[in-house]
């Protein structure tokens, strides 16, 4: 049995030999720090990350070789129609992953730790969005490479291809605000995964895999105007070149790109403040 009183009292003569920072971290340091951690969290879990890639490649194969034969795309080979669609839908699937990631951060206390630190609130959520944008970019680069390996060809100049990629990256950035908000609102990764089902109508009722004209009229109204169709068609038009784009899709790349950008702007304006608000005190 110990006789000493186990209660401890601080010794005012000693101090932990650590300086206190003069001022807290700025928005940029915070966002980059959070982003770096989130990117590392993903790429240092290669099983999950690589599995995602393999899954994407598998779906691409299935569409190209299983469904592709039954889908008619006038004036363009199906593989050339499909691959830009696939790259575009990758934006939504990356968003689903970021919803789950945000819900995990909330659940495992990472957000609480961040919110107890003297850092700008908006920088915390910005860091998350930045990281998800980087991850989406890696994903769509891989999809593009797999697409080329599967026979996708384009005669468009490199500048058009880069514009297409840039548009997809920007769309990933814009959409992520909404997905992060959904993830936080879901509260836990399972619920966030469940909410991910919302992605499917947008993915499939779009021009991504089949021409919208093959759908019933009422569905076409949605399919041809929803944001993913704009992004997919812009990407497709950039790779087809304007002449072919107008013939196959009805409009030039610029037409679709501007509409895509408007959608992106709307997503950012609406969802960025809502997501940032969620990081305030309850």
């Amino acid at each position: 049995m110990t006789a000493a009183n186990p209660a401890v009292t601080t010794d005012p003569t000693r101090t932990l030999d650590l300086p206190r920072p003069a001022r807290p971290a700025g928005a940029l340091t915070t966002a980059l720090g959070v982003a770096r951690r989130t990117v590392l969290r993903n790429i240092r879990n290669p099983q999950v990350f690589v599995l995602g890639m393999v899954q994407g490649a598998m779906f691409l194969l299935i569409f190209r070789y299983v469904f592709g034969g039954a889908i008619t795309t006038d004036g363009v080979r199906y593989v050339d129609f499909l691959v830009p669609g696939f790259v575009g839908t990758g934006v939504l699937f990356a968003g689903m992953t970021s919803s789950i990631g945000a819900a995990e951060d909330l659940k495992d206390g990472f957000f609480d730790r961040l919110r107890s630190l003297p850092v700008p609130r908006i920088a915390i959520v910005s860091g998350r969005v930045l990281a998800d944008t980087v991850l989406a970019t890696i994903g769509l680069t891989v999809t593009t490479v797999v697409g080329f390996a599967m026979g996708f060809r384009t005669s468009a100049p490199l500048s058009s291809l880069l514009l297409a990629i840039a548009l997809c990256v920007f769309a990933a950035f814009a959409f992520t605000w909404m997905f992060v908000l959904l993830g936080i609102m879901a509260g836990n990764p399972q619920a966030a995964q469940g909410l991910g089902i919302l992605v499917f109508p947008f993915t499939f009722v779009s021009s991504a895999f089949v021409p919208v004209e093959s759908m019933p009229g009422w569905m076409q109204a949605f399919a041809s105007n929803q944001p993913l169709t704009m992004i997919v068609n812009a990407t497709r038009a950039f790779t087809l070149g304007d002449v072919a784009a107008v013939r196959v899709l009805g409009h030039s790349a610029g037409y679709f790109a501007i509409r895509s950008l408007l959608w992106c702007a709307l997503f950012i304006v609406v969802f960025a403040p809502l997501a940032a608000r969620r990081y305030r005190r309850g």
Binding site: M1, A7, T15, L40, S116
Partner: protein, 344 residues
């Protein structure tokens, strides 16, 4: 200097639950203050409020003299939070985790590295510093989480149930780490549902239940508040237990409590040593073999039971099997893993 923490009349309601119902608490500098209470008592709500993660519905709250409601940013510079779940990144090394949080506290990259080094050394984690945290044990993760809350050299460290779910050895290890910090001059506010944890670490303990402080003082104050000393008898033969209970019952100020696995009977008594002698005479007269008998102060478990009418660890222990006779019994189960300690 203002107290490190001053809370007055804090209330918080979540839908149908009144999490805090007028909580008052003052924590002085230079010590560990423990908030002790069962699950759902409002401990976590309170500590999240101090950590500026939650706003109270009513009441005032100052941390190191700063108004936590109006100037949360200033409070954030004065606190470090380690929550219930170790909020460290498994895909980063221990060192990378600490450097990241150091940068967020505002250190430049060189200072963040230096601070991480000091903290790793303090917590005895230097050897594992470059391993990914997902390879750490639960205890090491908690220690690292504690370390992450330290790299900004906070005035007040907030620990929300720092050892919940840890095995006894990791718990002792973490207790040592917390003691080292306190000795180095950091004030600590911790919540716990473990009475022995509060007893081990804290100079002041506030017992909360249903969102209010129901008792407050040093561990000794609280033990005397429950009033009675306790005669504790361990009989040598389990078959004698019922006879011992019946024989000792008339001595007690309250009914005897029995803990069958350890073959012990405890009787709260009002006149300590004379009643201990009486107990010895009674048991001797009956010819009962006694393996141990003694007089001791009430434990905090007993205090909690006396104050609230129920054991402190209600529903708290996930591996508790079935309803226990008293709060004492669950404590005994845990205590079995560690040598019993004197609480005087």
């Amino acid at each position: 200097m203002p107290p490190i923490l001053e809370a007055r009349g804090l209330t918080k309601r979540f839908k149908s639950t009144q999490a805090l119902a007028g909580l008052d608490l003052t924590a002085d500098r230079g010590q560990v203050t423990a908030i002790l209470g069962p699950n759902g008592a409002g401990k976590t709500t309170f500590i999240r409020m101090v950590a500026t993660l939650l706003l109270p519905d009513e009441g005032t709250l100052t941390v190191a003299g700063i108004d936590a409601i109006r100037e949360p940013d200033k409070v954030r510079r004065a606190i470090g939070l380690a929550g219930q779940s170790a909020a460290v990144e498994g895909a980063m090394s221990g060192r990378e985790n600490l450097v990241l949080v150091g940068r967020l506290f505002g250190h430049d990259s060189r200072q963040a590295k230096a601070s991480a080094e000091v903290v790793l050394d303090l917590l005895d984690l230097t050897e594992s510093a470059d391993r990914l945290v997902r390879t750490y044990s639960g205890g090491m993760r908690r220690k690292l989480d504690l370390g992450a809350s330290l790299v900004g050299a906070p005035e007040l460290l907030l620990l929300d149930e720092p050892t919940t779910g840890l095995d006894p050895r990791s718990r002792n290890d973490l207790w040592d780490a917390i003691r080292a910090l306190v000795a180095a001059g950091t004030d600590v506010l911790l919540t716990t549902q473990y009475l022995d944890e509060a007893d081990q670490l804290a100079a002041r303990i506030a017992i909360i239940d249903h969102g209010k402080v129901i008792a407050e003082g040093t561990p000794d104050d609280l033990k005397s508040k429950a009033g009675n000393d306790v005669v504790e008898v361990h009989v040598a033969d389990a078959a004698d237990l019922d006879r011992a209970i019946a024989a000792l019952a008339p001595l007690g100020a309250e009914a005897p409590r029995v803990d069958r696995p350890t073959r012990s009977v405890t009787v709260p008594v009002e006149r300590g040593s004379s009643q201990l002698l009486e107990a010895v005479r009674i048991l001797d007269g009956l010819g009962l073999a006694v393996s141990d008998i003694g007089l001791r102060r009430a434990t905090l478990d007993e205090v909690f039971l006396a104050l609230t009418g129920r054991p402190a660890e209600d529903d708290a222990d996930p591996d508790a099997d079935g309803p226990a006779t008293t709060g004492r019994r669950r404590r005994s189960k845990r205590a079995a893993a560690r040598p019993e300690k004197s609480l005087t």
